[in-house]
Symmetry: C2
Subunit: 385 residues, 2 copies
Amino acid sequence: MSLVLLTKYFHLRHLSNSSHAEIILLMNRCYNFSAGPANLPLEVLEQAQADLVDYQETGMSVMEMSHRGKTYMAIHQKAEKDLRLLMDISENYKVLFLQGGASTQFAAVPMNLFSSNRSADYVKTGAWSKKAIAEAKRYGTVRVIASSEDKNFNYIPSISADQYSANADYLHITSNNTIYGTCFANLPTGEVTLVCDMSSDILSKSYDVNKFGLIYAGSQKNIGPSGLTIVIVREDLLGRAMDITPTMLDYQTHANSGSMFNTPPCFSIYMAGLVFERMLSNGGIKSMEARNKEKAQLLYDFLDQSNLFSATVEGSSRSIMNIPFVTGRQDLDEQFISEAELNNLKTLKGHRSVGGMRASIYNAFPKKGVETLIDFMSEFENSNV
Amino acid sequence: MSLVLLTKYFHLRHLSNSSHAEIILLMNRCYNFSAGPANLPLEVLEQAQADLVDYQETGMSVMEMSHRGKTYMAIHQKAEKDLRLLMDISENYKVLFLQGGASTQFAAVPMNLFSSNRSADYVKTGAWSKKAIAEAKRYGTVRVIASSEDKNFNYIPSISADQYSANADYLHITSNNTIYGTCFANLPTGEVTLVCDMSSDILSKSYDVNKFGLIYAGSQKNIGPSGLTIVIVREDLLGRAMDITPTMLDYQTHANSGSMFNTPPCFSIYMAGLVFERMLSNGGIKSMEARNKEKAQLLYDFLDQSNLFSATVEGSSRSIMNIPFVTGRQDLDEQFISEAELNNLKTLKGHRSVGGMRASIYNAFPKKGVETLIDFMSEFENSNV
């Protein structure tokens, strides 16, 4: 055992009241609070590891297979089928497996959804919606109907249907704001084509897909490795892309070909498929939502009674995925982050826009990791207040 | 040992004159002639397998790491550095790690390189250059200065500088044509901004990067898993994208941020890095080129003396990466493909545009596999002529 691992062992043994056997299991894994790319389920990684050189006696890795061959096609189609089951996606929606991240969708959305009006309403709730707004403005008229910029995006502004522009082609929201740790407690209502960047809370809780015209999400938080972008789009919104739209950014291209117009990001789709399969066998989204709420509640409850730490977001705007918190003193924040790192609690540094710490506790993040964080915060508080 | 594996064992033992030990090693791997995604070096897959759950005692998979963290940043920067070494890329070129495949570049190239002329010359040598031409036409004027469509693209047309349009912003070629098995023996010469789709022969032989304005390549043949697209672009060609270019398709965006404007396809880049590292330690591109030429020559020599099989491409247009061949009888082709499959020689079916068979023998395809294919073809020929 290396010195690094030995040190890790004693830290873990001391901190988390885990048994020797639990610690040994954990030795090769840390508690990873990364905002994305983020934690994947250990069982999924182990399955990928077992399959890596020879997938199911095919004599090749999933990474080496023709995407037109029957083995990969089965993986691809099952991933779509399982995602449809998980999110209860109706037949009048297409599910697309794309590349380029949500950032590419910031252009693809207006290019595909603008009618001759070329007009859309956006809600500004953070850095990502700002980028979405800036990109859409390049292709038409954007009206920001609500914003929380006045308080550094630490809340979700209220929205009512009478704010919508009469000629808007769609209303765009970011359901969960990774950097600021906010999320929409309720979706905007009324007659509107709702478009949602769901990158950081897709699959974390129940959403009624029928309420959306289009959902898009980068994969690297709750779905799988980076390099895959999922778009779920109502069929009547297809086929009206602006003339200037690159073929690869036109949703119709991928809807027509089952996301096989060109070589898809096969390995990322395979990994996403393993994640979907595991979620289905563990009770689907309802169970995941219950576990996520329980994990988040543990941490918020601790923060709300702490004399040292406090959450930066209040009330119904609180995200169950990303929880920023601060001590109020920069030097103490830095000390906390480096001591946490030594205790196997990694990537807790907050985004520079908020400062302090941020615990991203996506679907695959274990409850035991939240408990271990809270134990460590208690100890830190006792030593530093 | 399962029945499938047992059958495989006896086929291999009979066919390839390999020892028991060699066969056991090969049992879990086939000879995979896929045109892409394609073979990866076994050592690279085994390294990825070892690293998968815990990368270098970080306690996390490469797939789970923040792309802004120092561990992933080191992987990312080393991959670029090693690619620069391998291809001897000058400092006045940017190397970009992108997403979306070569198909996305079919739009990005004209969007980025068209001046106010909006005009380019293209050479039409197959299905992919046709797609590149069609997409570029949506943004400006395209003149096809040479084509081999008259003979189902089974040769590379000759090109001379006096054919170039005076006002063309660039000349576009596809260096190797995956479907038809052709490649440019010599690059076009003269004063021209040469743009090359190098998807299926990048890193297979020496190219002088300084002769190109821009090179692009999907990763899934000689680089790594699908989901990564590499662009190598001369700096003076940056910063002149058309107004309508999506931010994510503007090369300047990624050049400014070291390909970290948004979350990159981290795992594919890590895999590509492992491939680059291994190539460097095995003598770089010169050695790879020698091995590739030797492998291809073995197969062409066999085809040229065979009474049953023949190559579909002649002379200096022959690719060393993709070698289509036919028996001249469709039923025999089909019989060959299915018997080859049983003998662990997989994905030999030719593209529907050419028919027959195609052996794609990219960098990672072993010489032993070519020898085994030739042994099998000999046996098949003896039984069927």
